[in-house]
Symmetry: C2
Subunit: 320 residues, 2 copies
């Protein structure tokens, strides 16, 4: 499947694993890269020295390219960026901030830069900042999310028309059918987060992985829109937020309810009641924890099945 994304990253399949906080360490990233995709270490939940260890271990575990995801609001961002450059990480994914801030620095040191956006406006800004590729992430995605609430189905064709750089679709993709769908819309590849949360190599707590498997349609919601919109599983913590919204609330109170380390508590420590359980709507389609290699294999096989179905349909062209 050679295309602009496989050539840019030097990988076999145009499938990138999302760099999810608390889930995407070196074990998951190296497993995905070894299987022919692009593995991504999620640095947003790592202290600078922890990130360095994960990068070193990832290099030992795979001869293939991998990436690091850095949320641009990370407090010790200078240290993270220096680590990426020092360790010659081939690709950096940046999100949640201004793409102008770090793109030149990274590119000057030979690191390819991909920026995550959720609107046409920010896609154009990122392209102008010189990024090598974009991830466009729709409303159905897990974790932090755009304010416009544009879904993947609506977002991808608009961004594909607006920019020239290669485009990865994210949000709602966990199967080969969904990969085929977004490729039809103009994406050059996919970024998949939630499906890899429920992988054997994910560092998420087993309670959280099992909860993802049990999650059904309608069990997630986008909330905390006044702070930074985030999609999570509805649980007791979410009910607290809902109660606050119902009686009328403000950002101060929401910050107090959120407190600190909610995501760690839920996703890494397995507190399903009080923790913040970030996952996408596609969790409703996830029914088992699997090895990352198997997940990638299933996705490619499912994608090829759709392509074969279309190839076997009789040629038909209509005009009026």
């Amino acid at each position: 499947m050679p295309n602009r994304i496989t050539e840019l990253f030097d990988i076999r399949y145009p499938v990138v694993q999302g760099g999810m906080i608390w889930c995407a360490g070196w074990e998951l990233a190296s497993a995905v890269s070894n299987a022919g995709g692009l593995g991504v270490i999620g640095s947003g939940s790592m202290y600078p020295e922890v990130l360095r260890v994960h990068i070193k271990k990832c290099k030992q575990a795979t001869p293939h390219p991998f990436a690091v995801n850095v949320p641009l609001l990370y407090p010790n961002i200078e240290e993270h960026m220096q680590t990426i450059v020092d360790e010659k990480v081939p690709v950096a994914f940046t999100s949640a901030g201004n793409p102008k801030a770090w793109t030149s620095f990274l590119k000057a040191h030979g690191v390819k830069v991909v920026h995550v956006v959720s609107s046409v406006k920010f896609a154009l800004k990122a392209e102008q900042a010189g990024v090598d590729a974009l991830v466009a992430e729709g409303f159905e995605a897990g974790g932090h999310n755009g304010r416009e609430e544009t879904t993947t189905l609506c977002l991808i064709p608009m961004i594909a028309d607006a920019v020239k750089v290669p485009l990865l679709a994210a949000g709602g993709i966990g199967t080969g059918r969904a990969m085929a769908a977004v490729m039809s819309l103009g994406a050059d590849g996919v970024q998949i987060g939630s499906r890899f949360v429920a992988s054997e190599e994910s560092s998420a707590h087993l309670h959280f992985k099992n909860k993802v498997v049990a999650t059904r349609e309608g069990d997630t919601a986008l909330t905390l829109k006044e702070l930074a919109p985030v999609r999570l599983i509805k649980n007791a913590f979410y009910d607290q937020l809902t109660a606050a919204y119902k009686k009328g609330t403000d950002t101060e109170e929401l910050k107090n309810i959120l407190g600190r380390s909610r995501a760690k508590k839920g996703m890494f420590q397995g507190d399903l009641t009080e923790g913040e359980l970030e996952i996408g709507q596609v969790s409703g389609q996830i029914s088992a924890i699997k090895p990352a290699r198997q997940i990638l294999c299933d996705i490619i096989a499912g994608y090829e099945e759709v392509m074969e179905e279309i190839r076997q349909q009789a040629h038909s062209r209509f005009c009026f």
Copy 2:
């Protein structure tokens, strides 16, 4: 393109026009049916005697099958249903209510029944009620919408897996690329609303049609979730709702702000400030008012283009 949907409705293309209130009269429905799709009269904004006139005119304007959409919360629903049966309308689309209520009656009189759902749970209920097909409508759709906020990309594969009846995808579809995408996800056809609002034959006010053309990404929102969730263009009326939410509100106050005839005021009378302007996220991709036949032709041509691209790619199968 013969498939389960074209055979069920006896139409050329598996494209159904949405029966939008204030927009979908006999002019639009007959134009779509004459072009090879299934035109649908939207009865939700019509008095019983007005619906009868539209059906009679539609029959005169096209020899092809067409349908009537009936929201099940319509106050004079008995009269609407009797009119559909009396006039031997081939297909009825029902929405916003219990599919058990009218399916047997309609089917006993030879009317095919399609029910609109936004979740797997309601898809199963409708199938059990004996409907001939389903429309599954995602979060990005305009007008009234599901509470689960599941997007089309996530909803279609889950419903396609859960039911046996033919499935139309709706929400976010206005182009052949999007049609190809949802067909990859397991849909047998599409229902398209917003794109046909901005058609020459739509009975929407010209001010509203021009507003739809001017609407860009992020200009719509899903609101009034406490009453019945509805997607509309952000305008002065929407700002009133936002202000109420900000200070804390209840359903009583929301009902008062909404008042009566907001949708008529906006969509039919062209009041872009105080009216309710129902439209989907796909409005961001609509750049001209066109004849319905041209819209359908563009969609089929775009769909065929995607199919051709895939057919021309070299056969490639991967395994690990």
